[in-house]
Structure formats: C-alpha cells, structure tokens
Symmetry: C2
Subunit: 543 residues, 2 copies
C-alpha cells in the first residue's frame, strides 16, 4: 500500500539532456552577456527577443552544422493544426523577423539576440538539449564593411569579458576562395554546381582535420584514402596528385605565411637560402619588399603585410576562377577596413585554414579561437579552441520573400566562452555570501527582522535565519553553507544589555584552516558591539 503510493509519486528529475543553473552559474553568465551586450550596443546593434516557439514552416532547416543535417527540433501540432517547434538557433527567427517586418525595420538592420535554443538530439556528457546562444547580425548590407565590423566587434567583445589580447585570435576566410581553389583543382564546375559534390564534401572534411591528422593524413584523404591506427579505412576524394597539390598548397601556404608574418622583421630580412627552402613564401616576400620599397617613408603594418601575403598567395591559387578572385578581393577589403580601425594581426588575421561553417555560409567566414592552453578531461594540455563563429549568408530571407537579402553575423558559444573564463579564473564568481542574522529567542523575531532590515537598507546583503531556530548549531551550519562572512547573534542577555555579538566567519574559516596563534590573537573572531552600532560594526568587519 505504502509502496503503491510511492510509485505514484512523480519523479523529481530534469528531463534527459536538460539541466538547472544555480546561483553563480546564472550571475556569471549574466555578467558576461551584459558586457557583450554593452559592446554590441556601442556598435549600434539593437536587441531583438523573439519567442521560443516558431511555426515549423518558418523555422525551415537551416542548421549550420554540415555533419548533422538531420538534427531535430522539439515540435508539436497545435490545436489549429499548425506545427510549432522550439527554435534551434537565433538565425532562423531573425530571418523570419527580417521578412515579416521588412517595411518597419531600419535597413540595414543591426540586431543582437541572446537566449536559449533547443536541439532534439541525443544528450551526452556536457552536451545539453537547451543551451544559450549570443548572436549579432547585420541584415541588408552587401558591403564587406559589415563583415569587417562584425570581426572588430567580436574582438572587442572577447576583450571586454576578460580574454586579453594575445589569448585569442579571430580568423577570417571566405567561402568563395575555397570554391575558387576547388574550381582550379577541378572538383567544382561553375556551370554544374551539383557535380563533384561528394568529392568536395570529403575535401572539406579532410581540410578540417589538418590539426589532428597532419599533412600526411590530409593528403591521404585527398587521394585514395586513409587507414587509421585502429585499422579503419576512410575513403578518400580520389584526387590526382596535381589536384591534391593545389588543395595542399591552399592548406599549407597561408599557415606558413602567417607564422612568418608574426615576426615581420625576420620576414623582411629573409635570405635567399631560406626563400629557396620555402618557395610558398616567395610571393609574399616579394610583395612585402615591393610594398616597403614603394613607400620607404611609411613602414607597412604587420596586418597589411600579412593580409597582402595571404591575399597574394590565394590570388595565385584561384587564378582562373572568377568566384575565387571575388573572394580574395573581399578578403583584401576586409583586411583594409580592419587596418583602418587598428585591428592588427594580434587580433584578427586572414586565414584560409578556417573551414568550419563553409558549407553553410556564402561569403566571408569568421572564427574566434582562444589560444591559451587548458587541461582537457584526461589531464592533457591543449588549446582551448573555438568560442565563436559566423559569416555571410545571403539567402536566408529569400525563402520567405523571394528576394535575396544580404546578411552577415556571428554567434558566440556562450557556455564555451564561460568555461574559458572560468578556466582562466576570470569569471566573477561571488566571493562572499550574505550576512546571517541568527535567531536565539523565537519570540523576538521582530527584533531580528529589524536588524536584517537595517543591514539591507545600508545596502548590505543580509538574511534572517528562517529555519527552525531550536538548534543553534544548525544556524551556524546554514551560515557556513551560505558562505556568510558574518553571523549576528543576540540572546536575551545581550538584548537586556543592548548589545549584539558579531561572529567573523571568514576568520573562523581561516582559523579552521590553520591560522597561527598570533593571527587568532590579533583579530578577535567575535566582538560585542552596542545594538545601535550594528550596521557600522558589520561594515567594519566586512571591509
């Protein structure tokens, strides 16, 4: 009978893949997002908050992740027969808004959005079905000035939340450049875009794995295929040696250039022997030298040189592809615009190795990577990696209106960035809990409430113990659980004498942690003060 009753009780559990956020989890994220919003605001972006629910029809299928195109949404049928679903990102609702309110919104429309999104996928460790996104997009501008602005803003946002310059890098690439390289390598035919689609998919995935597989591994995947350590075979793209060489020079050259550009003086003083050994740097070096000699009075900046080098090499690679050349000149323009605002290669670089999201975006692509090292779950050091990504997607609004509306934007991975800040000890975790006013005499609650009221009016965070006051030890345990710095105590004896006792719980913890006798003596863990001095005395103890 009792068992029967128990089995009818609902389980007190979050659904699988969902979680709760307590205290500092909430305040740290909020502080971070508030700081980001402040930057977005300064750039002229307006907040937009759409509802969590959209029609399935309006949402469409726009997940940027090429590896999981069938990732699902949480959906249901309305009583009216309409299918509704929870938004899976903040871009699809933006597209709907941009179409629905196209006559009312300023054009171009800069907006930011922050909030949860939902994905109906198998939950895993650290992988949740509800998580935060933080997006900024400009709708209605075809100018790459809009893309450059997004990159600069992303850089500012990272710094303002606590990632210092040098600990992050924003990389910029352009989908059109890769398309150009593919075209030159003969795996893209502009007159028949569907042709070689499978091959291009393999090439994209191979390039994406350069960090893990190295040159040899990527090269194998471009060709016949690759057998990994476990003996599993991954089929390759089947490119010829010549074709693979074009792709490989795309993969390798800019990396070499960027490294070299990090030390500009070394680059300009490169000797002919080194240049012999690094033929891929030749174009960049000659451009750099030409640039320097052209205007000897004005030393070119690292940023301009880096961009010129990368752009020179990429320009060579896509020769013969008009789309590729468009892409290169867009990159050159972005580099110019960033240069004009003073964003150097210590913050933003043109880097053709960025391929994430290239399947989704149509023009410039951005990715912000944190470059400091952390320890992974197995205790190994590794770079923190990507925390934000974005790019240009010119076809999103077209679904609704039939008209192409250019758009570009960025999405910050809120949980990852927050994890990074915590890893670096830069998330503003609340150091101190509330002052706790304890209850000695149950029938003098009014007196205790008066104390807590005075403390709060003075701006102090303070609580009255509201549990059963019988066991005083429980009250001190509660104060401890609350990380309280000071407990206020007044028994009937103290009340008669018009005093209160303040217990310094921070010191108490230090003593428990082994403070010396001198420290103990120098600072009393408990003081008695006149009741009228309560607020001042607590303020003294907290300062």
């Amino acid at each position: 009978m009792a068992k029967d009753k128990a089995s009818r009780r609902p389980r007190a559990e979050t659904p699988k893949g969902f979680r709760d956020y307590f205290g500092a989890d909430v305040t740290e994220r909020k502080a971070m997002l508030d700081a980001v919003a402040e930057v977005y605001h300064r750039y002229g972006f307006d907040p937009l908050e759409t509802s969590a629910v959209e029609t399935v029809e309006a949402l469409g299928k726009f997940l940027p992740d090429v590896d999981r195109p069938n990732e699902g949404v949480f959906g249901w049928q309305d009583e009216d027969g309409d299918w509704l679903a929870l938004r899976y990102d903040l871009t699809a609702p933006l597209a709907r808004v941009a179409a629905q309110f196209r006559n009312d919104l300023p054009s171009p429309y800069r907006r930011y959005a922050m909030g949860p999104v939902w994905r109906n996928e198998k939950p895993g460790p650290g992988r949740f079905r509800q998580f935060y996104q933080c997006d900024a997009d400009t709708v209605g501008s075809a100018s790459v000035a809009a893309d450059a602005e997004i990159c600069a803003m992303l850089s500012d946002a990272l710094e303002v939340v606590g990632i210092p310059r040098g600990d992050y890098i924003v990389r910029v690439n352009n989908r059109k450049v890769l398309n150009g390289v593919m075209e030159v390598a003969g795996v893209l035919d502009p007159s028949d875009p569907a042709k070689f689609e499978a091959e291009r998919g393999i090439v994209l995935r191979a390039i994406d794995k350069i960090d893990r597989l190295g040159e040899t591994g990527v090269r194998a995947l471009l060709g016949s295929g690759r057998k990994d350590e476990s003996g599993d075979f991954t089929k390759g793209a089947g490119l010829s040696d010549d074709q693979a060489a074009i792709i490989m020079s795309f993969v390798n050259a800019p990396r070499a250039i960027n490294e070299r550009m990090n030390d500009f003086s070394e680059f300009l003083s490169v000797d002919s022997e080194t240049l012999e050994a690094h033929p891929e740097a030749r174009t960049a070096v000659s451009i750099a030298r030409a640039w320097t000699s052209q205007s000897p009075s004005e030393q070119p900046s690292k940023n301009r040189l880096t961009s010129l080098a990368a752009i020179g090499i990429l320009g060579d690679l896509v020769k013969g592809s008009s789309q590729g050349q468009d892409g290169v000149s867009e990159l050159a323009q972005i580099a110019d615009y960033l240069e004009a605002q003073g964003y150097g290669p210590d913050r933003i670089v043109v880097d053709p190795s960025v391929v994430r999201g290239l399947g989704y975006y149509t023009g410039p692509v951005f990715e912000a990577e944190l470059t400091f090292e952390i320890f992974d779950e197995k205790g190994r050091k590794r770079q923190f990696g990507s925390v934000a990504g974005g790019g240009r997607y010119d076809d999103l609004v077209k679904r609704f209106t039939g008209q192409s509306v250019p758009a570009t934007g960025v999405s910050i991975g809120v949980d990852r960035l927050l994890a990074a800040l915590r890893a670096k000890g830069r998330a503003g975790a609340e150091a101190q809990g509330p002052v706790v006013v304890t209850v000695m005499d149950r029938d003098r609650m009014g007196d205790y409430m008066a104390m807590v009221g005075e403390l709060r009016r003075a701006g102090l965070r303070a609580e009255l113990y509201l549990g059963n006051p019988k066991n005083f030890g429980n009250q001190l345990k509660y104060a401890d659980a609350r990380k309280s710095p000071v407990a206020v105590i007044q028994g009937s004896d103290e009340a008669t004498r018009g005093v209160v006792v303040l217990k310094d719980l921070v010191l108490g913890a230090q003593i428990a942690a082994g403070a010396s006798l001198e420290e103990w003596k120098s600072r009393p863990a408990q003081v008695e003060v006149p009741r009228a001095d309560l607020v001042r005395a607590v303020q003294d103890m907290l300062s």
Copy 2:
C-alpha cells in the same frame, strides 16, 4: 508557375499568440528586472534558472488560477516515450528542484527566477502564450517571518523600479481567515472539507467582484442570485440572511477600518455619533483607545493600529473556528514583523478583501496594487490594479517526496509592471540613437570605418551606414529612423581639406518642429571641424 512557387514559400509570421520584442521593449524590461534582481540579491535570494522544458509528470497541474483549472500546456512526446512540456510558471519547476536537490540546497532556500513561461490557451488581444514571470520564493521555512520578508521585499522592489511610495500598496490576507469566516457562516465543515465546495466557490467569486458589483451585487450573489443589466442571471450561493451577513461583514468591515486608519488622529477622535453610524468600527476603536491608554507615553503607529483594528474585527468574525484564529494571529505576527522593519500602512496593509489566489494558497496571501489612475482602452480613468501576487503554499513539494515542505513566495507580473512604468513615463526608454557616419565616397570605406572606430573607442554609440550609399537622402532617412543625434559627413572635398562635417539631427528635428529663428541662429545645425577633432566635436554636440 510563378504563383505556384510563391504559394510554396513559408509565411513569415509569429505563431498565433506569440510576439517579438524589439529594441527598447527588451532593454526596458531588462533594466526593470535587473533592478528587481538587485533587491532580491540584497535579501539573500539566489538566482535559479531551470530549463524551459520539464517532464509533464514533474510539472503536474498547479495553475493558481481557479477560474481556468484546465488551462493547458505545450507538450509533446519524446522519442523515449516520455511526455515533455514547456513550463507554465516558475513555481512548478521550483518544486521539482526543491525535491531533486533537497540534500544540496541550503535550508531554508531563498531563490529568485526570471524568465518566460508558456500557456497553451486561446490567444486574445494583449494576451500572449509566452510571457515573462519574475518570482521570489522561500522554501523550507514555516515561519510567517518568511511571509513578512516577502512583503517587505516586494515593496522595495516596486520602489526601486520607479513606483514611488504612495502609488502602490501591498495588501496581505490569510486563506485561513476566510476559511474561518466560511466555517462560522456554515459553508465549511472542517470534518468534511468537500462539503459545500460549490457554495464556497460562488462566495469566493462574489467577494472578488466587490469593486465591480458593489455591496448590493455581492449580497445578491451570496443569496438567490443576480440578474445583470443585460438580463442574464447568475445563480447565487443560496446562503441565508444570517450566513450572508457574516460574509458581508467580512467584506465590508476591514475596508471601512482601513479607510479610517488612513487618518489615525481622526480615528482616535471619532465621536459617539459616528461610532453609532459605523458599528463595524467599534471593536477597532476600542482596541485603539485601549492600546493608547495602555502605554500613553508611546503613541502607537498607524501600522500597528490598522493591523490591530483589522485583526480585532477578524478575530471577532472567526470566533469558534480554530483555523480562522490561527489565520488572524498569523496576520498579527506579520504586521508585527513589518512594523519592526518600518513598513507602515502607506506601503503594506492587512486587508481581508484580497481574495485572488485564495483557492491556491494555504496561508498568508499577498497582492501588490498600483493605486494611481490611468486611462483604459476606452479612455476612462481607472486604477492601474494588481501587478504582483503571492502567498504560502505548503504542499507543493509533497507531491514528489511525500513530505510537506513549507514554502512562500511572490510573482511579479512583468508585462503589467512594465506597462505601468511606461504609463507613468518611468521606463527608461532610450532617448537617443547612435551617431551615424555616412558614406559619401564608396571607395573610402576604410576612412569611414576609422571614424566610427574612433567614436566607439571613446565609448560613443556609433554606426557606419552600411546600405547602398548611392542615394545620400536615404542615408539621412536611415539616421532619422535610428533616432541618430549626429550625422558625420565627409565628401572628397572635405577629405582633401582634412575636415569632417557634423550635422546636428536633434536640432534639425527641433527646427522641423518649429524652432524660432533665434534658436536656429544661436546654434548651427551643421559644423565643420578638423578631422583630428572628430571625437571631441561629436562629444560637444551630444552634451
């Protein structure tokens, strides 16, 4: 064919009953909630953010609104067969959390939560299926000190967002008192709680309509029933004259007392003739006089007298009902606790007319009402009304654990409070848009980006015009739509001369609105400044 294509396009529409929030809609709400959170924090409440999705099992059916018990949720079946749903309030998830984490949370647990909730009900004008709630609750305290604290905190929260003292009142009642009155009136039998349920429902709804129907209307509903102006008949509770008289004295007496208490001196100086005309005030007057004479050195405060008067009258009404007497002494304690913290009747009053939510709560009930007048949709003046409500609900966690856990809390109606702030002109609408840097020469975008970068680095909100720059008129229209205070202009001529032109758009608007010639002359609508002085000159123009 073209038509066919168009019909396949998705509609760009929010689902019925949902809406988008733009710009100031978002920032004003955020500013309000941030201010409220600051108060909650000071009171020792910790934030909790649960996910939007819960199991249907965990959610249960706990809607506080007695009139619509079958109000639905948005639910669907998971692939695992579990039924999931969007939360319909923030209390049900709190109950689940309190049960799930009962061994980890501090006890008592003070938490606040802010966020959207969803209701699957027919949308109507101004009635949405997603809306914000802002709750604070204390779980695990049986003390009415917890209830008093919630009332004080609610009062502080209203003032901090911009409702000044005098423009709001927090009313406190107790479900147990009404139960006591019902028991005395013979429509509640403690040994058979289900008996007279229908009658009690009619009585509750009748009391709730006192403002609209007046005494006569309520009295009719307590008896045989009431015919309204259209001729429609509403069945009454069928009470006898004696029974109805008890309910009516509950409805009327405290109102009269409270009015009288608003002028304490008048109350104490009431003459015997007036007292004859208001027999319901007799008890309160005698208590007040007795109190004053008991401690003649110490004038009782209005708050204490109001409470004593109300409590005296209520005590008389529930004589014979132990539950009713518990309720009255709880109200007396709450009044004492608030008095101890200095919350007078200008902020919080004991008021038995509060019946909203009495069907849901088990002890003290609170309601915050805004007392200033606004014009309704028909242009009639009326009081703004309720913006927050709450109370004690001791059985919520029991569903999960089998153990009763006392809890009390309040929920602020975010949209209503925001509407009130707007009605009073107290919502911090953004007065000013961004500075707009216009584009005269398409090939000098880098120069314009440098300008906008400098402005932003100086902390100014600034935008570069990113649309097609061909038509300069469109750029000024854009600046106007953005409520921009200053447009920055630099054509090739100005560039050559190393200057920029600043156009004062605020002044421009004033001139358009009919500024005098003197004003026009005294302040040039357009100035030319050296390019190097851009930031300083814009700052001057904005100040």
